[in-house]
């Protein structure tokens, strides 16, 4: 079982002092939740778990490594973020030990809670089923019906870069067409698209959870916090909300692994992945680049080709 293997590997790494710290997933305090778990003591590796709710992208911690040597539990998307960050030289090569896990696609807890009436008090995963118990109900749900939309379209479930792979690689096949959100959005008229975008952003409360959770958002001073130049006002005017969301997404050009952490973190349920999906599509089409696959190729906006397309330039 994957969970046992993760623990075993973590124990081995900590005992050998290969790493000082393991960052993995632990049981959350609520059903259907997991929490990032930091393990320093080899005797406590049993706190690490692996299930269908290990949705967080733990590579977001790579900016805070300091001098520690860290063992990091990564899924396919997390590993791609790690590769992207290593290209941006965010950590030293010998600082990181990747425990790669082929991902079984993660389950969206919000979709599960919507499927039942009342509060979920207990949840247990058994094979392909999730047994959910609550006040006055007890149901078994098929996990594949409740996957995250970003996981449904994922075609890189096996980590692209790992130091050790735990479990057998899974067969890569998209369940549905990739980038379906962006493609559906593109079919609308410009007016409809703008209205949709404004409607989504209008719910934003500027908590910046999408920024905080994103492994690629690590600027020492974010453009929203900069007071000179002051790019953006602090208020909730629709235009400022649009501005924030345009720039947050655009900064991910050629860097986003499509893990969907931004959308999962949003307390207001704002759709965000259709924005980054478009950028990923464009980068693939224009520069034939895919984030986190190749450990050598520079991110597209830090380099250039003489032959880049330029029909749009007069």
């Amino acid at each position: 079982m994957i969970q046992e293997k993760i623990r075993e590997k973590a124990r081995e790494l900590l005992t050998n002092k290969t790493v000082d710290l393991i960052i993995g997933f632990g049981e959350g305090s609520l059903p259907l939740r997991t929490t990032p778990r930091f393990i320093r003591n080899p005797e406590k590796v049993d706190r690490l778990i692996w299930n269908s709710f290990c949705e967080n992208n733990l590579s977001a911690y790579l900016h805070k490594l300091g001098q520690f040597k860290v063992g990091l539990v990564v899924k396919g998307c997390d590993a791609r973020s790690v590769v992207a960050l290593s290209l941006e030289k965010r950590f030293k090569a010998d600082q990181l030990f990747l425990i790669g896990v082929p991902c079984q696609r993660m389950v969206d807890r919000r979709k599960v809670s919507r499927a039942v009436k009342g509060e979920i008090l207990q949840a247990r995963e058994a094979g392909d089923l999730i047994d959910v118990k609550g006040d006055g109900f007890e149901v078994s749900l098929k996990r594949d019906d409740f996957l995250y939309s970003s996981c449904q379209v994922c075609i890189h479930r096996n980590p692209t870069r790992t130091d050790v792979l735990v479990g057998d690689p899974v067969e890569e096949s998209p369940l549905k067409e990739t980038y379906q959100e962006a493609k559906a959005f593109e079919k609308m008229s410009p007016e409809e698209r703008w209205r949709f975008f404004e409607k989504e952003t209008s719910r934003c409360i500027r908590c910046y959870a999408c920024r905080e959770v994103c492994p690629m958002c690590y600027c020492a001073e974010c453009f929203v916090d900069s007071s000179n130049p002051k790019w953006i006002e602090k208020g909730l005017s629709p235009s400022d909300l649009d501005f924030y969301h345009i720039v947050r997404a655009y900064h991910q050009t050629g860097r986003c692994s499509g893990c969907g952490a931004c959308e999962r973190a949003c307390p207001m349920g704002i759709r965000l992945t259709y924005l980054t999906q478009k950028l990923t599509m464009d980068v693939k089409e224009l520069f034939d680049f895919e984030t986190g696959i190749d450990t050598e190729t520079l991110p597209p906006l830090s380099t250039y080709e003489m032959e880049d397309k330029q029909e749009f330039i007069k």
Binding site: E192, D242, T253, D308, I313
Partner: protein
């Protein structure tokens, strides 16, 4: 009498080529529409996408960016880097529903005064067709402003 609407267009011109091209157009007495406000930048690669967004948010009807032809960059590769940024930003803004043509790009050398005047003419025509910018423009009646007017206490504290 009401004056007809004229678009306001912000032009980011590279110091080493397009800016000199505009200068040449001026000294050669070549006419071009007076709708552009020029900002001189050291290179088209210097243009931060935030400049363009900020301009659009401030109510500018169109943004025009012009730099050196490929191979002519004073800093060797600035225009290539700029080209990648422009390509992705332009596509992204159009994807979101900002009208195609609000943001335009060109290569104009210091000798191409004729091309400068022609391109500016085209850009102004395109933006006139689109009409005044509405989407993304920050307005006085925004939610934040309403909050202030709805809460007079807030104002007294400030005073």
């Amino acid at each position: 009498m009401e004056t007809p609407w004229e678009p306001k267009i912000l032009a980011f011109l590279c110091n080493w080529c397009s800016y000199a091209g505009a200068d040449l157009a001026g000294t050669s007495r070549i006419q071009y529409p007076p709708n552009i406000r020029v900002i001189r930048v050291p290179c088209s690669g210097r243009i931060n996408p935030l400049f363009i967004l900020k301009a659009l948010q401030s109510g500018i009807d169109g943004v025009f960016v012009s730099g050196c032809h490929p191979g002519d960059c004073h800093y060797l590769s600035g225009n290539y880097i700029g080209r990648r940024k422009s390509a992705t930003l332009k596509r992204f803004l159009e994807y979101l529903g900002i009208e195609e043509g609000r943001v335009q790009f060109s290569w104009i050398s210091a000798a191409e005064a004729g091309k400068f005047s022609r391109v500016i003419g085209e850009v102004v025509q395109d933006i006139k067709k689109l009409g005044p910018a509405k989407r993304f423009v920050k307005r006085e009646d925004s939610r934040a402003m309403k909050f202030e007017t709805r809460n007079p206490k807030h104002e007294t504290i400030l005073k």
